[in-house]
């Protein structure tokens, strides 16, 4: 029997980490992720886990210690936000290239500057090409479920890549919601024992990791890394199927909400999907065929699947809670539209950048996006491709 509880996102993540009982957690405090190592260190202090908790002096050292620990053969986890993730940047790439299945919660927060502690996705979006798998979560339940699945995905022999589980700072991290937890022993059985193939503490098979890699080999190693990310696409679905058997909760690359007969839709990530679903329901009451896609897996990017899922729409708005300052839309827009070029050529696409620095996104604003889409669908004309939502111009 599943356990019904009421937890904040950070509490849910800490509970999942207790159930996972990793060998090493190395972390550094930063709002709004601080609670994760805080709750977790209490589990350590109470002897509820066997984990070595390394309270490092920076996020750079947090990721460095995670790399050392995972390379040594330990199941390793951490959590961070914003500037913390930015300080880890250099090491994110190295963790991925060393093929270390570290699992990290990223509690999304705007990047400085100006300094701002509230939610947007500029932190994890900035790390999108670091070689980490990225899973995004609408609410506490998804954060909890994704973290448990992340262990299996990361450690799969065909993947061996680190995973970020990203959820919205404060909105998800600090809001208490109903949640269904899995029993400890079932989590343990689901994730299984970590059996790395090559690791530093294997004294019978010493290994050198992180060599200087010159033009004769570097490219092959990066190519193998790219292949692992492609493999992750298959493994993510396999793990999701097993997870569904365990919990009844279904996961894929993205969630399609009332998309079947939809004529207009939006693509969105994380907590704002909840608000947008409310708007879709309101529109449906008026007989308007509105739908929504909430992307769960941004890395690897479900290029074909997402492109095809949008092919029957007349118009779609791709909503980014991060700007890439390209002058040509946010990162999600750029990639989705690229997929649409192959699979949804007849669907008009527009970009909306919204909610930067934690700016509230209200249902009436999302409603205005659908109104814009309906106008595009009616006229076949896009007046403005690149848009900002809810900002004083």
């Amino acid at each position: 029997m599943a356990i019904k509880d009421k937890l904040s996102g950070n509490e849910a993540i800490a509970v999942a980490m207790r159930q996972i009982d990793p060998d090493v957690v190395a972390a550094f405090p930063i709002t709004p992720s601080t609670e994760v190592p805080q709750y977790f260190s209490q589990f350590v202090a109470n002897g509820q886990v066997h984990t070595e908790f390394v309270a490092v002096e920076s996020e750079h050292s947090a990721m460095s210690a995670c790399i050392g620990a995972e390379a040594a053969g330990a199941r390793t986890m951490t959590a961070t936000s914003s500037q913390g993730l930015a300080l880890m940047w250099e090491m994110l790439y190295i963790a991925a290239s060393l093929r270390l299945p570290i699992v990290m919660s990223v509690i999304n927060r705007a990047l400085s500057g100006p300094i701002n502690i509230h939610n947007d996705h500029s932190d994890s979006m900035g790390a999108r090409d670091s070689g980490w798998i990225q899973l995004y979560c609408e609410n506490n339940q998804e954060a909890y479920d994704n973290l448990i699945q992340a262990i299996r995905i990361a450690e799969h022999k065909d993947v061996q890549l680190p995973v970020m589980v990203c959820y919205d700072g404060f909105i998800t991290s600090h809001a208490v919601e109903n949640i269904e937890l899995i029993e400890d022993e079932k989590v343990k059985a689901f994730i299984g024992e970590y059996r790395p193939q090559h690791y530093l503490l294997d004294r019978d098979n010493p290994i050198s990791m992180g060599p200087l890699d010159m033009p004769a080999y570097y490219f092959e190693h990066k190519r193998a890394q790219a292949e692992a990310m492609k493999n992750a696409k298959r493994v993510i679905l396999e793990v999701a199927q097993e997870f569904e058997k365990l919990t009844g909760r279904k996961y894929g690359y993205f969630e399609e909400y009332k998309m079947e007969d939809a004529e207009v839709g939006i693509v969105i990530m994380n907590s704002t999907a909840g608000t947008a679903k409310f708007v879709v329901n309101e529109l449906r009451k008026q007989g308007i065929k509105a739908g929504l896609i909430k992307l769960r897996v941004f890395r690897p990017f479900p290029f074909e699947e997402l492109g095809k899922a949008l092919s029957h729409l007349k118009a779609v708005a791709i909503m980014d809670k991060a700007d890439s300052f390209s002058g040509a839309g946010g990162p999600l827009f750029t990639e989705v539209r690229s997929a649409m070029f192959d699979y949804a050529k007849d669907t008009k696409a527009v970009s909306y950048i919204y909610g930067l620095g934690g700016r509230d996104v209200r249902p009436d604003e999302i409603m205005s996006v659908y109104q814009d889409l309906l106008e595009i669908a009616r006229t076949g004309q896009v007046k403005s491709t690149f848009n900002y939502l809810g900002v004083r111009e």
Partner: protein, 311 residues
């Protein structure tokens, strides 16, 4: 057992020949001697900061390291090794490790005094059972001899060049060994590949087998950066010690112990003269600079004597 270099060199080498370090470089001697202090039955996890040592000893698909080795980046050898050490403790709790594994990080002065200083300080403060070894060649040699906070005053480097207005680096060398002693960790020592390597070997052994964090600061001359003839390596080290530019001492549980007191303390010019990086100081107009260096060496030496109860 009394120290005997000949007997010790019969131990199996953990750091193989065939690496690409320069002739006349101090670093490989430091590494080989430190690793020789490991008990043959013990395994080691060795982390190296980006630098000459790393790029010359682990070039895919080759490695000069017989133990487990990891390089991740420049500024984080201490943090990386601290993570591996934490993994060892965690896995030991659940019976997943066999035998004894020791943890050693190596970094040059750039990776230790400068960019890796924070990670070093953090790892030492946290009390990991590991040794951090700085092979101090007093500049960023891997990138082509740029000044670091370890570069001595008035040394000519490519970013502190001796010019007509400025005579090389204008700041004195940071005293990292003292800073590490102030961390109040169980074992800190300053050493060098001196004479028959006894001082370095014995300190490495103490550092490795003292439970908790230990720091070794090891002078490791660089023929390219210091501009001496490669066969002069050991002589340069000897002069650094006999002039008291690089005193040999250790700090055990906070107690300072002087390990070598020159019978006839040589003037610092004896050490500076054979090195091209100080050549510009030997002109009539720069005599004052040599005096200034001597004064600072004396000041630091006298303070050390006081700390060691030898004054």
């Amino acid at each position: 057992m009394a120290y005997n270099l000949k007997t010790l060199t019969e131990k199996e080498e953990r750091f193989t020949g065939g690496h690409r370090m320069c002739a006349g470089c101090g670093a490989p001697i430091v590494v080989r001697t430190v690793l020789r202090a490991l008990k043959p039955e013990d395994h080691a996890v060795i982390g190296v900061a980006t630098g000459c040592l790393e790029v010359s000893t682990c070039l895919y698909p080759y490695t000069a390291w017989k133990d487990s080795f990891i390089h991740s980046a420049f500024e984080n050898a201490a943090a990386t090794v601290s993570g591996a050490e934490a993994a060892y403790r965690a896995l030991a709790k659940v019976g997943k490790v066999k035998g004894t594994t020791k943890f050693i990080a190596f970094g040059g002065d750039g990776g230790t005094y400068d960019i890796g200083f924070q990670a070093l300080s953090g790892a030492m403060e946290r009390g990991h059972d590991m040794v951090y070894v700085c092979y101090d060649n007093e500049a960023y040699m891997n990138t082509g001899i740029q000044r670091s906070s370890s570069t001595p005053k008035y040394a000519d480097t490519t970013t502190s060049p001796a010019g007509s207005e400025i005579p090389g680096k204008v700041q004195f060398k940071k005293d990292l060994t003292m800073i590490m002693a102030a961390h109040n960790i169980p074992y800190v020592a300053q050493t060098a590949p001196f004479r028959n390597l006894k001082d370095l070997y014995e300190k490495a052994e103490k550092a490795i087998y003292t439970p908790g964090p230990a720091f070794l600061n090891v002078l490791a001359p660089c023929p390219r950066g210091w501009r001496y003839n490669t066969p002069q390596l050991m002589e340069i080290v000897r002069l650094a010690i006999e002039t008291c530019v690089w005193p040999l001492y250790e700090v055990i549980e906070g107690k300072f112990i002087l390990n070598y007191k020159p019978k006839n303390k040589l003037p610092v010019v004896e050490y500076l003269k054979p090195q091209g990086r100080f050549r510009h100081l030997f002109t009539k107009e720069n005599e004052g600079l040599l005096e200034e260096i001597q004064k600072e060496v004396d000041r630091r030496w006298n303070r050390l004597l006081e700390l060691c109860g030898e004054a």
